[in-house]
């Protein structure tokens, strides 16, 4: 589904942040991406959903070379990958429900009321549907972001620090939603440095843990 071949990346004229990264995400797999802060986790995820283009190597998405895509192709691709961003940005003048429906709205597709209702129920935000995003708590924002990410029913879900600043109980709840998506057949990739979360996931699904260190990607040992 997502393939990276000998990918390298550097911001501006600085040295290479990532180099020689080869990665294959098989359909239905569950991956964790970990590593120290500033190692390049977010950068690697951005390469995966084509927000950044590699300085070296190639990224294939659903079998298509990312560098050959037009801007419109990339926009379409965004709708087939659900992304929960590290800073979960919303349109603050629209309600939570409208924000969750946004991926459909911007592609001029109708928003099925029942689906939206079910989704809000699934992430436990039924009572917050009419609120504005700035009125949500950190955990509620993360769940709203997840709901938005799956609104278009994508095959791949990418989550960048989804449990960044929420308590353990809420983290487990969110992990539960992601595991549920994986059981439905979705490919899931989560960046986190919360090792406890990774252990909690391992007890529920088969996962692979990738670690970025000094610009290289390695498979983490079984100690996790």
């Amino acid at each position: 589904m997502i393939e990276l071949d000998n990918v390298g990346y550097s911001y501006g004229r600085g040295g290479a942040l990532l180099s020689d990264i080869t990665l294959r995400l098989a359909p239905g797999s569950f991956h964790f991406l970990t590593g120290p802060s500033g190692a390049g986790k977010t950068t690697l995820l951005k390469l995966c959903y084509l927000e950044l283009h590699p300085t070296v190597g190639r990224v294939h998405l659903y079998g298509v070379d990312g560098t050959r895509m037009t801007r419109d192709d990339v926009a379409r691709t965004r709708q087939s990958i659900g992304v929960v961003h590290q800073d979960c940005r919303f349109l603050d003048h629209l309600s939570v429900a409208e924000n969750i429906a946004l991926p459909l709205t911007v592609s001029s597709r109708p928003v099925p009321g029942q689906d939206l209702h079910d989704l809000l129920h699934w992430v436990g935000l039924r009572n917050q549907a009419g609120q504005l995003p700035p009125e949500l708590s950190g955990g509620e924002r993360q769940r709203a972001a997840l709901a938005r990410a799956v609104m278009t029913d994508p095959q791949i879900i990418i989550a960048d620090e989804p449990t960044g600043n929420i308590d353990w109980e809420m983290s487990l709840k969110l992990l539960g939603l992601l595991v549920e998506l994986n059981r439905m057949g979705k490919t899931v990739m989560i960046a986190t440095h919360d090792l406890a979360l990774i252990r909690a996931a391992k007890s529920q699904v088969a996962t692979r843990v990738l670690r970025i260190q000094a610009g290289r990607l390695t498979l983490a040992g079984a100690d996790l």
Binding site: L91, L94, L102
Partner: protein, 298 residues
């Protein structure tokens, strides 16, 4: 490019909500469009009126000429008769008449003041000549007059008429040039307003990008808004301009050249084209500004 996209006119309610309303640029666009349309009405009136004047002068005046006879007291009547004979046998002349002294005095009064002792002035005699549809050859007539009545001079008006017609034509082009400049200035100002709006909404644009909005969608949300506003502003401005022109003194109340500046007949309809044109200008200006900016933001 789908200029005639129906949703452009009706508005896509959902799409319009994704970009928050921007008060300042909205008012700026409305005002600019109204002001420019107000001016456009006058430029339009100017070019239509001067076009009309040029036409009238070159058509109606072309048909009237004057023959001026200056001769010593004793010969004046004889020469007048000779001229009349020449005119009667010249092809292309519909009619002619000797302008009586009293009428001539009336013509001169505005220039020389009333109560003039006209009898003491050696006034030339004037004969008004109206040509028919074919017209006469002025040079041939001049030759014959020189032979029959040496004191007669044919003044066929082209000499003084031509610069007037040229001036009127020049004014008409100035009017059209003004219209083009007004359109250009409006496109420029709306482009600036659109750029300001796009820059102010950069965060919004980024979020829209993240959820997979294509450039045309984002540009469309801005374009629709500016097109609506420019159209509305132009409607106001053109309406006010029409009212202002209608309130100008009419031809009948003051018989001066300036009162010709107005609309006549179907001319009153032409300002109706200003709002659609303004909307089209705004559409193209905003769209190109938006697509250019979105292209740079990639």
């Amino acid at each position: 490019m789908r200029v005639l996209d129906l949703s452009l006119l009706l508005g896509d309610a959902q799409a319009d909500r994704v970009v928050p309303p921007t008060g300042f640029t909205a008012q700026l666009t409305l005002f600019t469009s109204a002001a420019m349309s107000f001016l456009a009405v006058f430029a339009l009136a100017l070019s239509l009126a001067t076009g009309r004047v040029a036409e009238t002068w070159s058509e109606a005046l072309a048909r009237a000429s004057t023959i001026r006879i200056s001769a010593p007291e004793g010969q004046l009547d004889a020469q007048t008769r000779a001229v009349e004979q020449v005119l009667a046998t010249t092809p292309g002349i519909a009619s002619f008449r000797v302008i009586p002294d009293a009428e001539q005095a009336q013509l001169l009064e505005p220039w020389l003041g009333p109560g003039l002792p006209l009898d003491d002035l050696p006034l030339p005699r004037l004969i008004e000549v109206i040509e028919d549809a074919r017209g006469f050859a002025p040079d041939g007539l001049r030759l014959r007059l020189a032979a029959e009545a040496p004191g007669a001079v044919l003044d066929d008006h082209t000499r003084w008429r031509r610069p007037l017609v040229e001036a009127a034509e020049g004014l008409r082009w100035l009017g059209l040039l003004s219209l083009a400049l007004i359109g250009g200035a409006m496109a420029g100002m709306i482009t600036l307003a659109a750029q300001a709006a796009l820059a102010a909404n950069r965060q919004i644009i980024e979020v829209l990008r993240l959820v997979g909005a294509r450039d045309v969608y984002i540009a469309g949300a801005f374009t629709r808004r500016f097109t609506h506003r420019a159209g509305l502003g132009a409607l106001l401005g053109a309406g006010l301009g029409l009212v202002a022109i209608a309130l100008l003194p009419g031809n009948d109340s003051a018989g001066s050249f300036l009162t010709g500046l107005g609309f006549q007949g179907v001319g009153w309809i032409t300002p109706a084209f200003i709002p659609p044109v303004a909307a089209a200008v705004a559409f193209l200006a905003t769209r190109s500004a938006a697509l250019r900016m979105l292209g740079r933001l990639s």
